[in-house]
Symmetry: C2
DNA sequence: GCAAGAACGATAATGGTTTTCATATTTTGC
DNA sequence: GCAAAATATGAAAACCATTATCGTTCTTGC
């Protein structure tokens, strides 16, 4: 499927519109509706995770790793990295003592800034 | 200002529409545009923080505490709690070793579920 | 080949947010 | 107190990502 190839070749977080544009290079007739439907299916089946939004568009990350894990995602350029271990356990404990359960699904992609964008050049801009 | 009174009396995360509706009880002529503009100003000045979205609407929390702190916010009912200390330091260290800086501003409100909503009654629903 | 069902793509509709613009309010200078 | 400038306000329109609609096309099984 062209969308899956496009997603894997991005290597970073992407919006549905970006995914659609990339996939259209291989499959020109591919419609935006299908891109939305496919990303929604990826999310339901655990292959993609919500990574917040950038410029008013929701962005997603394709995650090879199944199971419990967390990414960091650069809010400027979409670069991602997989965090080792579970760095959120202390936060989870703290939340639990306040009577709350942290939502792993909503914290799978932690907003951050990569070294390149922090240097001020704006990343891929 | 009616909007500030409304925000403080909510005691939980709120959308702009909810804030506007609450403030209109005291100030019937208050417009939705002003509510949006005011929340934006609160964010710029550090009095309010982005708390994700609920039902397609962006939600915010009014934070009494200035300085470095984190909230947990129930994604169902909007209940909030202030976390003691900085429970995200391990995550920050892990991200730093991958070359990323976690964004405190985007992590000021951690998505969670409160005990009431976890019990299955849907909170304020 | 044929029927039933699923997937597709173009278009329209939805709805939260932003912009526009004319009016009302406050501030400033005297 | 008064006029001019600057600012804040609110109603309506514009914007745009996302979702729903609907007719068409591709599978699947026989």
């Amino acid at each position: 499927m062209a969308l899956l190839d496009a997603g894997r070749s991005m290597g970073r977080a992407f919006s549905v519109r970006e995914l659609h544009a990339a996939a259209q290079r291989a499959e020109p007739k591919l419609g935006l509706t299908t891109a939305y439907r496919t990303v929604e299916r990826w999310r339901e089946e655990g292959w993609a995770e919500d990574a917040g939004s950038r410029g008013g568009e929701a962005v997603y990350v394709l995650c090879a790793a199944q199971g419990h894990h967390h990414h960091v995602v650069c809010v400027d350029c979409g670069a991602t990295a997989l965090l080792e271990g579970c760095a959120l356990e202390p936060a989870r404990d703290s939340a639990r003592s306040a009577g709350f359960d942290l939502l792993d699904s909503a914290l799978a992609a932690l907003p951050a800034r990569c070294a390149t964008c922090a240097d001020g050049d704006g990343g891929r801009g």
